[in-house]
């Protein structure tokens, strides 16, 4: 790449590194506020009485719920800073996400989320020289089962 690589030695060292584990309880009110913010009136996310009579037995969280009570997004904020400190470009945008849903998530669940940097790559885009960081989060529920996985891409330019 002309002008040298964006990926400094310090950034290389971050690849594969765990950004830590957070434990969060999924709160009923957090689910309801999240569903309201989406504008999704689905009673599974809004009405605990309705939801408790379904196969889920409790208020269900919308797919990819990352409501206020889920702290896994906090390491992401710290990540912005550490990527910039390690020499990454200063402008950061959220590039997208892939979710895999394995077990339902609902009120009262306790999720243990482990966040890790899976890869850092670079290429020329319409933004100029651009760096892509892929971050994986695995959420394990109180039964010890993986409930969902996410892979997010951060764009820096």
């Amino acid at each position: 790449m002309p002008g040298g690589s964006l990926i400094t030695d310090e950034l290389q060292k971050l690849i594969g590194v765990s950004l830590g584990t957070t434990i969060s309880k999924v709160e009923e009110g957090a689910i309801q506020r999240y569903a309201q913010a989406i504008g999704d009136p689905n009673p599974l996310y809004n009405d605990p009485d309705y939801a408790s009579k379904t196969e889920y037995g409790r208020l269900l969280a919308p797919p990819g719920f990352t409501g206020w009570s889920i702290k896994a997004e906090r390491p992401m904020e710290k990540l912005f800073e550490s990527l910039i400190k390690a020499g990454g470009p200063p402008r950061v945008l959220d590039g997208g996400v892939e979710f895999e849903f394995i077990e339902p998530v609902g009120a009262g669940d306790v999720l243990t989320a482990t966040t890790k940097i899976a890869s850092i790559t670079e290429r020329e885009t319409r933004l100029g020289k651009t760096m892509f960081t892929t971050v994986e989060i695995t959420f394990v529920n109180q039964r010890g089962n993986v409930a969902l996985k996410s892979r997010s891409t951060l764009i820096q330019f």
Binding site: A30, R33, Y34, Q36, A37, I38, G39, D40, N42, P43, P62, P63, G64, T66, G67, W68, I70, E73, R74, R91, V92, L93, D94, G95, G96, V97, E98, F99, E100, F101, L127, T153, F157
Partner: protein
């Protein structure tokens, strides 16, 4: 909620029932509080300019959540969403508020999609979909995909 859709009801090319959304500055504040994303990119003019996006933009994760609703509205009850992905390709700018509740005139966003593949694996019936959010100009700012499992009419 919509009535149950079955595996036999869909073919490649079947359209997912579209979902309309209007992003407003008010909605972005509400989303920030509910999601815990307090990045000033979504509410501060100067910061958004410095980040190279011109003005505060709609959270990518909010558009992703809209796409989640598109899918769960379409497959209610016995349908299960297995995978959801999207890329935040284009910037979207919220409508400003005219009154406490009413936004100014402006763009309406549409969440849309269509079936790209259907197949059986083990005892499950999978349907893959191409999905996207399109802005008032018809640009697909947030393309993505989804994988769902649908029930069958025969129950097998």
């Amino acid at each position: 909620m919509a009535k149950q859709i079955y595996y036999e009801d869909v073919e490649v090319g079947t359209e997912i029932t579209p979902l309309a959304k209007i992003a407003t500055t008010r909605m972005l504040v509400q989303w920030a509080g509910a999601s815990g994303d307090f990045n000033p990119l979504h509410y501060e003019d100067d910061f958004a300019k410095a980040m190279g996006v011109g003005a505060p933009i709609v959270h990518g994760a909010l558009k992703r959540a809209w796409l989640g609703q598109l899918m769960t509205d379409w497959i209610p009850g016995e349908g299960k969403l297995k995978k959801l992905s999207c890329q935040y390709r284009g910037m979207d700018y919220p409508r400003k508020m005219k009154t406490m509740e009413e936004p100014h005139d402006g763009e309406t966003w549409w969440c849309k999609g269509k079936v790209t593949k259907k197949y059986e694996e083990g005892s499950e019936h999978f349907v893959e979909c191409e999905i996207w959010v399109e802005n008032g100009k018809g640009d697909k700012t947030t393309p993505g995909s989804a994988l769902v499992v649908l029930p069958t009419r025969s129950g097998k």
